[in-house]
Symmetry: C2
Subunit: 475 residues, 2 copies
C-alpha cells in the first residue's frame, strides 16, 4: 500500500466498504486512471468500489467530511476524459462497476430497472429475453455501462427513431453531492408534479451527483430489420431523400447514415474484402435501415417503392435493397469500417458535431471550402448520423503528409474553423460525446454568458463544495 | 384607472411597453384573473401584455427593481390554477398572448419555431401546411398556447407515440428571473455541451423563468389514421391486449384508450344519439388508433390481423375496425363524450393520475374496493390514456345522492384514498395537469424530503427574490 492509503479519508472508506474494495495499489488502480483513448492519465488517493447505492452515499458523506473530491466512473469508455481524475492525487475515483444488478424487468410497462454499473450489452440481452428491444446501441456497448451512458447522454445508431439515452430514461436514483439518496426511480410516462430533476442529472457527467440506478424504456421487438443503400450526388440531395424516406416509412425508418465517397475509398483501400456496392462511383452513399413490426417482406416492399419513387424523381442515382439478413449486415459493415479505415490511414482531427438537419449541406459546403483554403489537399472524412444532423467531420492530412506533424501544426486551427462554422449554423460542438475535460473551454466559449451563468448557478447550488467531478463540463 | 395604476412599478411598465398594453381597468383585467374552471379568482396590480421577448425581459427587470412578483399566463386554460394571481393585488399578470409569431418553419429539420403565445391549433395548422404533423393535441387546443403547454408539460392524446410536450421540444428562449434573455433556441437532435436547462424550464409552471419562444419537433404526416374498438372483460385483459397490439403495430399504434362500461352507460344516457358499438355489453372497451404511413387499407388490414389473433387467443370478447374516416371519427367521438356525459350526470371528484402501465389493473381493483368500502354505491368513471398509464379516475356520487353535498362531504377522503393508492403503486398524483396551486400541498406530501429539498434548492438558486409565480408548484 502506498502512503495515500493511510490518509484518514481512505481509512474511513475502508471502514465503510471493506479494504478489498478500496484500491490503492498502483497495479490495481492503473486501469482506472487512464481514459479509453489514452489521452489523459491522472492520479487518485484511492479507487472506491462500492456495491450498493447506500455505500455510494456513505462514501460521498465521507468525501464531504474530508473535503475529498470524487470522480465517478462507469465502463471507462468515454471519449472526452470525463471519468479520469486530475494529476493531484487528491481525488478519489468512485467506480460503479459493482452496482451491476438488473433490479426489475417489467414487459407490460416496457421498462427495465438497472443499476449504474450494468453493461449496455447486458441490458440489450435482458430486454431481448423478455421479448423487448432496448434500442441504445453504440460501439462500446460490450464494456460501457448505463450509468456512463446516462451521465454523457450517449447517442449511437438508434437516435433517429428512439432518441438519445435521455429519451430512453424514465427515472433515476441519484446520490446527491451531500450524500443523500434521491429515489426518483419512477417508471411513468406522465408525471407533472414538480421540477424535472431527472434530466438535470442526465448529461451532467457526474458533476451534480452520482447516478446509481435508472428505469429505462423498452420498445417492442421489430419483426425484421432491413437495410438499403442509395447513391446520391450531394448531401443536399440526401436531405431531400431523407424527407421522402420519412414520408414513405414514418417511424419505421430507424437509420439514415451518410458516407462520402472518400470514406468508401478508404474502406476499399484498407479492407480489400469490402466490396464497393455500386457499379459506378457516386459522391455520397446513404445507408437506410427499416425496423418493421410486420415482416422482412413488408420492409423490402416498402424500400422498393421508396427507391422507385426516388429514382423516378432523380433524387437518387442508384439504389440497392438488401436481399437478406447477411446483406443487411454487410451494408452496416461498410459503415462500421469507416472509423477503422480512417485509423489505418493515420491519425486525423476529429469533430463530433451536430447542426440542424436542414443546414447539413450548407455546413459541409462552407466548411470544406474554408478547410481547403487553409490546408490545400486536406482530405475530409465525412460520415455519420445524417438523420440526427450529427456528423463525424474529420480532417485527414493531405496525401503523403505525415499525420502526426499535420495534427501538431493544424489541430487548433482546424478546430476553430469547424467550430466557428458549427456555431454560425447554430449547431453543437459536441453532439454525442460530451464535454469532459476535452472540450471544457470550447464549450464555454461558444455559449452565451447567460447560459454559462445559469450552469454555474446550478453547479454552485447543488455542489457548493465543488466535490463532484470538479474540472469537468465547466470550470 | 384604479389607484394601483399609479404605483411606480405600473408607471414604469407603461413607460416600457405603452399604456395600451398595461391593463389596470377591472373590466379589462377580469378575464385574466379567474382560471378556466372558475375555481380561483385573484387580483393584480396590472395585466402586462408585452409583444416581444425583449419587452418581457424589460418588465421582469422592473419587477426586480420594484420587488413585484409576476404571474405568467398563456391561454388561461390550465386546470390547476397555475396562471391565476393571489388575492393580494400586489402581483402582476404577464400575458404572453401578443408574443404570437411563428418565427420559422423548417420542414427539412422537422421543426417549427414559435413564440410562447401562439395557439396550439395554429401550430398544428402551420405544420400541416408544410406537409408535417405537430402531434400535440388536447381539448383546449383552440385556445391554449404553446408557452402554457410547455410550462405545464401538457400531455393529451398523442403521448403513446409522440411523448408529452417535453419530448416535442428541442430548444427554448427564456427570460430569467433576473430579466436576462437566454437564447437556447437550438433545433438539434443531439447536443451534449452542458446542463439540460431546457427541461428545467419545461414543466416549471413559470416559477423558474418565463418561456418566450420554442423550437418544436415536427413529424411526417401519416397517410391515414384508422381507429378500432375492442371489448374486454377487465383492465388486466386490456394490458395483455396492449402488449399484443404493440407487437403487431409497433410505432404505428398512436392511441390506446380505456373506457369502462359505466362511462359508456353515461354517454348513452345523456347523448341518446351515441350508439353503443357492440351487440352485447362488455366490462371494458378499448379504443385503438393506428397512424399509418402507407394507406388506410394497410392500417385496416393490420387491425384485422391483430383483432383476429386477439379473438383467437380469447384476449378480447369482440372487436370492430372502422370502415371509413366517418366511423373512425365516430369511435373517437364516443371517447370524447365521456367528460361531457359525466358533467351532465353532475359534479364528481376528479383525479388525473398515472401509475406504471403494468400496475393499472391492480390499481383499479384495489382503489375501487377501498372507495366502495368508504362510500357504498359510489360510481367510478374510469377512462383514459391506458397506453401511457394515465387514468382519469373520477368518483361520482351514488345514484340519487346530491352531487354537491357528496363533494363537500367526501372530496378530501376520496383524494386521500386515491393518492395513497397511487403512491403505493409508485405513481403520480398529477399526470398531465401540473401542480399549480391546486395540488401544491399534496405534491409535496408524496415526495421525499430529499426531492423537496432539491426542488427548493433549484428555486432559491434561480429566483432568490421569489418573484416568479410564487405560491405555485412548491411553497
Amino acid at each position: 500500500m502506498n502512503s495515500a492509503a493511510t490518509s484518514p479519508f481512505v481509512a474511513a472508506c475502508i471502514d465503510a466498504i471493506g479494504a478489498a474494495h478500496v484500491l490503492t495499489d498502483p497495479h490495481d488502480t492503473a486501469p482506472f486512471l487512464t481514459d479509453w483513448r489514452r489521452r489523459y492519465t491522472g492520479s487518485a488517493c484511492a479507487v472506491l468500489c462500492p456495491s450498493t447505492a447506500d455505500e455510494v452515499a456513505a462514501l460521498v458523506r465521507l468525501a464531504n467530511e474530508h473535503r475529498v473530491s470524487i470522480v465517478p466512473q462507469g465502463g471507462n469508455t468515454g471519449l472526452a476524459g470525463g471519468a479520469t481524475p486530475d494529476a493531484s492525487g487528491a481525488q478519489a475515483v468512485l467506480s460503479l462497476k459493482r452496482l451491476n444488478r438488473v433490479r426489475d424487468v417489467d414487459p407490460h410497462n416496457n421498462t427495465i430497472t438497472v443499476e449504474a454499473g450494468v453493461v449496455l450489452a447486458d441490458i440489450q440481452a435482458r430486454a431481448e429475453a423478455a421479448g423487448r428491444l432496448f434500442p441504445l446501441s453504440l460501439a462500446a456497448e460490450g464494456s460501457c455501462s448505463i450509468g456512463g451512458n446516462l451521465s454523457t447522454n450517449a447517442g449511437g445508431t438508434g437516435v433517429l427513431r428512439y432518441g438519445n439515452t435521455r429519451e430512453l430514461c424514465l427515472g433515476l436514483e441519484v446520490v446527491t453531492p451531500q450524500g443523500e439518496l434521491w429515489d426518483g426511480l419512477r417508471g411513468l410516462r406522465k408525471d407533472n408534479t414538480g421540477y424535472d430533476l431527472r434530466d438535470l442529472f442526465i448529461g451532467a457527467e457526474g458533476t451534480l451527483g452520482i447516478i446509481t440506478a435508472a428505469v429505462m424504456k423498452l420498445h417492442p421487438q421489430p419483426a425484421a430489420r432491413v437495410t438499403a443503400l442509395a447513391a446520391l450526388p450531394s448531401p443536399h440531395a440526401a436531405l431531400d431523400f431523407l424527407s421522402l424516406a420519412q414520408r414513405h416509412a414514418g417511424p419505421l425508418l430507424t437509420g439514415f447514415e451518410l458516407m462520402s465517397d472518400f470514406c468508401l475509398q478508404l474502406v476499399g483501400k484498407h479492407f480489400a474484402q469490402m466490396r464497393y456496392p455500386f457499379a459506378q462511383r457516386h459522391a455520397q452513399i446513404v445507408l437506410l435501415e427499416l425496423s418493421d413490426s410486420e415482416s422482412e417482406e413488408h420492409a423490402r416492399a416498402l424500400f422498393e417503392r421508396l427507391m422507385e419513387t426516388a429514382l423516378e424523381d432523380n433524387l437518387v442515382e442508384d439504389a440497392v435493397v438488401a436481399e437478406n439478413l447477411a446483406q443487411s449486415k454487410a451494408f452496416w459493415n461498410l459503415r462500421e469500417h469507416i472509423p477503422l479505415a480512417q485509423a489505418e490511414e493515420g491519425l486525423n482531427i476529429k469533430h463530433d458535431i451536430a447542426v440542424p438537419i436542414s443546414r447539413i449541406g450548407h455546413f459541409i459546403d462552407e466548411t470544406d471550402a474554408a478547410i481547403a483554403k487553409a490546408v490545400p489537399g486536406a482530405r475530409m472524412v465525412t460520415f455519420g448520423h445524417l438523420g440526427d444532423g450529427n456528423l463525424h467531420y474529420n480532417v485527414q492530412a493531405p496525401e503523403g503528409v505525415d499525420a502526426k506533424a499535420f495534427l501538431a501544426q493544424y489541430q487548433s486551427a482546424m478546430n476553430q474553423i469547424v467550430y466557428d462554422s458549427v456555431h454560425r449554423h447554430r449547431g453543437s460542438i459536441s453532439a454525442e460525446h460530451g464535454v469532459g475535460q476535452l472540450k471544457i473551454d470550447e464549450a464555454a466559449q461558444y455559449k452565451s454568458d447567460v447560459e454559462v451563468r445559469l450552469m454555474k448557478t446550478l453547479k454552485a447550488a447543488f455542489d457548493p463544495l465543488n466535490l463532484m467531478n470538479p474540472g469537468k463540463v465547466l470550470r
